[in-house]
């Protein structure tokens, strides 16, 4: 009798577990999840601070943040920005400093209690007119990104935190050539530390039929994470991404109904969104 009840209870628990929505590592898109529906708050230090301070049910709703870097070739500045329309200059390294302060503080800094994730996305344009990197620009921009990586790794060690850094470039060659840089720390720079290479399916220089040749976590320059947008690709293409040996990252501008569908059907490892509180509550329902 008791055994029968236990079996029923187990079945109920199993059903409840199966009914749970897919869980994902939740990243704060453009360092802005505190003012989710205000694009003007994207990629600003104020929003980054507010986003790191967010809580839901006493925990941070996010597991990491995205920092955009933009190389301004005319002024030789490594900016914390999405494009050249940002009205004030803020440096990418200042954004990193806000994150390292957060990592050195006490208490939980992620919802899942595992590694804090920082995604560094490097933009392709180096002038307001959209010019591509020259060799000098590329060297300077990559040096900036490697400085950011170094500082984050140091803070993780000092704060005794696990850290995962995801590197993405609008141009796929930007991150792939980083792995050949003399300062490249490798994908496993220490215990509890990891660096992963990410491509967006819309990355420059990346054709859909290139994907298979680019993937493979065991390759030093293999892509580990593939980002896709929920509403701009047909089902069949998303299924093709799923079949690759990579983790998927679903990203969005706004949390639309198609986004929820994609999260439910494709079970991405990461979700990159400004609407982190909404997505957390959606996942926890």
């Amino acid at each position: 009798m008791i055994r029968g009840r236990r079996t029923s209870l187990f079945a109920l628990l199993l059903l409840a577990a199966c009914d749970r929505r897919p869980q994902a590592i939740l990243m704060c898109h453009n360092s802005n999840c505190a003012h989710a529906t205000d694009p003007a708050a994207d990629d600003t230090l104020a929003s980054l601070e507010d986003s790191l301070a967010l809580t839901y049910l006493g925990r941070p709703p996010i597991d990491g943040v995205e920092i955009d870097t933009l190389w301004d070739s005319e002024r030789s500045l490594c900016l914390f920005a999405h494009d050249f329309d940002k009205p004030v200059d803020e440096l990418a390294m200042d954004a990193v400093d806000r994150v390292t302060e957060h990592m050195l503080g006490a208490g939980a800094i992620t919802w899942d209690g595992v590694a804090f994730r920082v995604k560094i996305e490097s933009k392709a344009a180096v002038t307001p007119g959209g010019a591509d990197h020259s060799a000098d620009d590329l060297a300077a921009h990559q040096a900036c990104v490697l400085d950011m990586v170094d500082r984050l790794l140091e803070a993780a060690v000092a704060g005794d935190r696990e850290l995962e850094i995801l590197l993405e470039g609008e141009d796929i060659q930007f991150v792939r050539s980083l792995t050949a840089h003399s300062r490249w720390p490798g994908k496993d720079p220490g215990e509890g530390l990891a660096i992963r290479l990410e491509a967006n399916v819309k990355s420059a220089g990346l054709a859909p039929d290139d994907l298979v040749s680019l993937t493979g976590g065991d390759k030093p320059d293999g892509i580990d994470v593939l980002a896709f947008h929920s509403t701009r690709f047909p089902d069949g293409q998303q299924q093709a991404y799923e079949a690759l040996d990579v983790d998927l990252m679903l990203w969005m501008l706004d949390a639309s109904l198609e986004t929820f569908y994609a999260a439910e059907v494709y079970h991405p490892e990461y979700v990159n969104t400004s609407e982190a509180v909404l997505l957390r509550r959606w996942m926890e329902d």
Binding site: R21, H35, A36, T37, P39, D42, S230, T231, D235, M252, L253, D254, A255, S256, L257, E258, T259, F260, Y261, A262, V265, V277, L278, R280, R281, W282, E284, D285
Partner: protein, 176 residues
Amino acid sequence: MRLHLLFSILLAAAPATARADASDDVDHDWHTGLNLRTDTGTHRVRLDAGLRLGQVDVTAVLDPKVFIDRRQNDTDLVAEYMFRPDGWAAMAGWRLTQISIDRGTQFHHMLLLGVTGGLPHFLEVVVPRFGFEFEANVLRHGDGLEADTLSLASERDYLDLVSFNLFLRFDYAGEI
């Protein structure tokens, strides 16, 4: 298979007075049937019921899947202006989608604009129509979340909140 079953139930449930052929001289009728969609944001199989009064057709689309997927419920109210019976029509409507989240519900309000067109009747009793719909998610709100109204200020504001969708209706129609 489930779709076939649902379709058979609808046909069996329809009254014997149902009109086999929506001829041009009938101005008022009722109709009910299946509403199938291609997009992923809205449940793909729903039920509709409506009235046609002259050139104006008003249809409510209800979501039976709410009984097996309590986390999403999509309801439409759509009006069509028929340029000629069983021909082309201009369509405008409103969709309300409720999404279940931890400790609450988020509401998405969508403005619908589009065109529909009649297709040849089949099995003599089914009146199919297809439609092309522009959907704009004009308001999202609920349960302490930041309310968001659609802005056209930049692509970042609206790109994920508008879409173009296709649908197909298989309705059983009867005279009033």
